[in-house]
Symmetry: C2
């Protein structure tokens, strides 16, 4: 049973149907509707098992739609890991240089040989007649190979909810495979705060193993589908929010969860793949891209790169609405960033019927010939509402007078056509399955969209630019791709004046990780962005609080 | 059953007493005496097991005397691994630098933090009020510790036969413990060639594990005896001959065994202790000192340092008679080195009754009041002859006319007092145990001493100096310490004119490893010596062959 809040009785998602239920507790009465409770639905995390209990669980579809494509910027191919050809003079009694010295003398740059490469070097040189190719990264020879072998890399985007991975040929830039998966850490909570709490209590090791295993499985699947060996993978570039990167490296992120929100590290970091137990080449390296702050991670840095904002040639806004909502503003040759606790609502968390982008999720809602219509992902029977459906539905309710300026659900003010969908509890798209919105959901949406709009306002103020001066708004993340921009404008998620210049850029973080894998200049750009970006801590600012209050309304 | 030749039927040492023996094979007849064969002694490696076989093995004492002290040169204390104290301003909302950045900004030098240190950093900083000490090596923080903790290092000398290790406090230079052990690889052969052959056939992994386990056990014993934790050990400096270092790192040394004698690597090399599975601090480093050539290893480099020859202030000779015989000559501001296949005889190999420095080994032989006398180590019943006893006995036989100029055993020419010790087969110090010398042993001794004397002559010629110009001869290794120098002169192992200026320097290789652990300048000196030393390959030179022939005689 999925438990987005980590089993803490907060999210109301771990529903089980008890055939012989006991009286619900107060928290269940708050989170679930009377009808649901009467049918016997209870929350698994709040229900004690009793003798003779009969329970039914509901299966949620597991194959979430995960955006893997995205990004705009094309970097020039110049991968940090490269194969250098060599042809050495065979040793003689009058030239007794060691195999290692002979090789290094012939290569341009490296002055170390990784242990696994050193172990195979004597045999490889003698079998190949002292000619071959050296796989080089910075000052180190990672491997010595023959002509047939490829030099591959893997880019990974570790989202709080989803993982995306890409297998690239580092010599040609060709993408050989892509893969996606759910982040298995979700059993420890759907948001980064839950993960931090869990790490504080039980340490980061279990969650590290979960994500490393999942990434390892993605690498294996991609290699199999591309018909290559994971031993040909020499570098992995990893992005993710700061908490996800901490857990990936087995470092507790717990102090990010509490003021003053301090990460254990934020700079770019190279770790031996073998140390992490990742099954790529034994001398392979994992590059963790740099983070900007505890809540503006390497995924945002990578998204900045993949929109070309690191070139600082335009005034533009980047909004990544994932499980958190990170915003970056490029203005006057400088990059400003902030983070708002905006995301979970759009990924289904804290929304009564909210779900991720799973088959059956209601993803569009609208009026057609005077009647309410909705679609679901893969045309499956509806199982909940995902982010884009939520935005559509809210916009519709506002336009049709069913939600007022202050966010109150208002059956009386609603257009005639919508009134049948109301009952005492809320507005129901599907009365049987009881999928719809309740007042509390609208409040969550107001908090989320208000936070993002307020974050944008504060960044603009900080940079001294106005909305009118912005040339582009880039919407990153799967949510952005499927979002109806007009409806996003209606609910006030995106400033209405910017709708014409808004572009969805898909998985921009994954695209940035791929760019770094293929371009030393992009790796350096990532470091520079992280070093120079101005991070604006919103929690400390009264102007953010004021803007937040203003933007909560639907005006 | 010990098998110095690795079970290849060459050394004649793996004796077993068969109570119902079958006919000996030709090789056994060649290697063993008629009396031995008649008693039922056979070689384990050449004897097939048969139904009803009854076998008795002889136990050899295992606690070999291993020299651990030595060295002359005192380096200034300046260990590459140091603790730096720090006191950081606690983080604030307006100073959200990561823990890592905050620490690195306060330290002088490092810009990386090792993974294990990064994992503990957040907790340590907060528990200690943002003050403490960072253990730093080059550009990396290895650990973050409190005031009570020590910063320790271990120096290791990996001999083909023996291992020596030293536990040092890197802040004070104090030696807290020392330990020695036999090299467990001896079951794969007593000399480096046997080890190379075994690595060629079965790979280096088993022998790597043997030596790593043995070194790990030494570290554990030393830490226990000093009352410290192995977690406080941050660096290990390792010396040994080139083959031993290869096996330590799990790199096959097989190509060193055959012309043109090429090592897989020779430069100084840092390896993570965790990669090798050595149980010191998880961020600890192993520094393998550089080698000069396939047969002049890091032990010789270290011995050069510990005699101060790297300063090149004198004309001096360093002779290390271990399992091989390495010679270094410092002359005219340059260092010349060579290696001779001289050693095994002095460590008991290829000598009928030869043994290492074990209790019961005959270690001195001489005439006293007209009678032959010998002593054994620890006054135990004689079990064989070790190196110093061999030199004494040979010198005595030469002086008493029992061995002529050409090296022939000559009962008729011998002084009256010695004649009773002869029989048809050889000269027996202990008739019951049949411990003594046979003609073949004298030949081995001639080959060994001839090779060393010829090596010295070639190096002198190469450097353009004469024996008279040498200020010192340093004799390294346990053998040198116990050697009667006068007798060494009589058999021609050391040029007679140099006896007055000869000094035994004990385990000079181990002393050099300790110096490197305590002094960055010495580490750099080691690299420089290895880089600049002139290696003279004797196998390619006719002048060596000529000198070798000359020096084989006892003149």
């Amino acid at each position: 049973v999925a438990a987005p809040c980590g089993g803490n009785g907060r999210c109301g998602k771990c529903l089980v149907l008890v055939h012989n239920p006991k009286k619900p507790c107060a928290q269940e009465e708050r989170l679930l509707g009377g009808a649901q409770l009467a049918q016997g639905w209870r929350l698994a995390c709040l229900t004690a098992v009793f003798d003779g209990m009969r329970v039914e669980t509901r299966e949620m579809p597991a194959d979430m739609k995960i955006a893997v494509d995205g990004g705009l910027y094309q970097a020039q191919l110049d991968a940090p890991v490269k194969a250098q050809a060599f042809a050495l003079a065979p040793p003689q009694l009058h030239d007794q240089r060691s195999d290692a010295r002979r090789l290094l003398d012939a290569l341009d740059g490296p002055h170390n040989i990784a242990l696994p490469a050193q172990r195979k070097l004597p045999q490889v040189l003698r079998q190949a007649g002292y000619a071959g190719r050296a796989v080089v990264c910075a000052d180190t020879v990672l491997d010595v190979i023959d002509g047939a072998r490829r030099v591959l890399g893997v880019a990974v985007d570790i989202g709080t909810t989803t993982l995306a991975a890409y297998l690239l040929d580092l010599a040609t830039g060709e993408q050989l495979a892509a893969d996606a998966a759910l982040n298995p850490q979700k059993v420890r909570g759907d948001d980064v705060i839950s993960r931090c709490d869990h790490a504080r209590q039980d340490g980061p090791d279990e969650m590290m193993k979960m994500v490393l295993d999942a990434v390892g499985a993605m690498v294996e699947r991609m290699c199999r589908s591309a018909g290559v060996s994971s031993d040909e993978v020499y570098q992995m570039a990893v992005v993710g929010n700061t908490v996800m990167l901490h857990l990936f490296a087995g470092v507790s992120p717990e102090h990010i969860a509490q003021a003053p929100f301090i990460p254990a590290w934020a700079d770019a970091w190279r770790i031996d793949a073998a140390t992490l137990g990742l099954a790529i080449n034994p001398a392979g390296e994992v590059l963790l891209l740099p983070c900007i702050a505890g809540y503006v991670g390497a995924d945002t840095v990578a998204a900045i790169l993949s929109c070309g904002l690191h070139e600082k040639k335009e005034q533009a806004l980047l909004i990544d609405i994932g499980t958190n909502g990170e915003i970056a503003l490029c203005a006057h040759g400088k990059i400003y960033t902030c983070s708002t606790a905006a995301g979970p609502a759009f990924e289904g968390a804290h929304i009564r019927c909210g779900v991720g982008s799973v088959p059956g999720a209601i993803n569009t809602v609208g009026m057609h010939e005077g009647k309410l219509r909705f679609t679901t992902i893969d045309n499956q029977p509806p199982c909940g509402i995902c982010g884009s459906g939520l935005v559509d539905l809210a916009a519709l309710l506002i336009e049709q007078g069913a939600v007022d300026e202050t966010g109150m659900l208002d059956a009386d003010g609603a257009a005639q056509a919508l009134r049948p969908y109301f009952d005492d509890e809320g507005f129901w798209l599907d009365a049987d399955a009881r999928i719809g919105l309740v007042q509390r959901d609208i409040r969550e949406l107001q908090l989320a969209k208000g936070a993002i709009a307020a974050g944008i306002q504060v960044l603009l103020h900080e940079a001294g630019v106005t909305l009118d001066e912005l040339e582009h708004v880039y919407l990153a993340g799967g949510f952005g791709t499927y979002l109806d921009q007009r409806n996003a404008g209606i609910i006030g998620l995106i400033p209405r004046t910017l709708l014409g210049s808004t572009r969805a850029v898909g998985n921009a973080a994954g695209a940035g990780a791929r760019a770094v894998l293929l371009s030393r200049a992009m790796e350096e750009a990532a470091r520079q962005v992280a070093r120079e970006a101005c991070y604006v801590e919103l929690s400390a600012r009264s102007d953010f609080q004021d803007a937040f209050m203003d933007h909560m309304f639907f005006t």
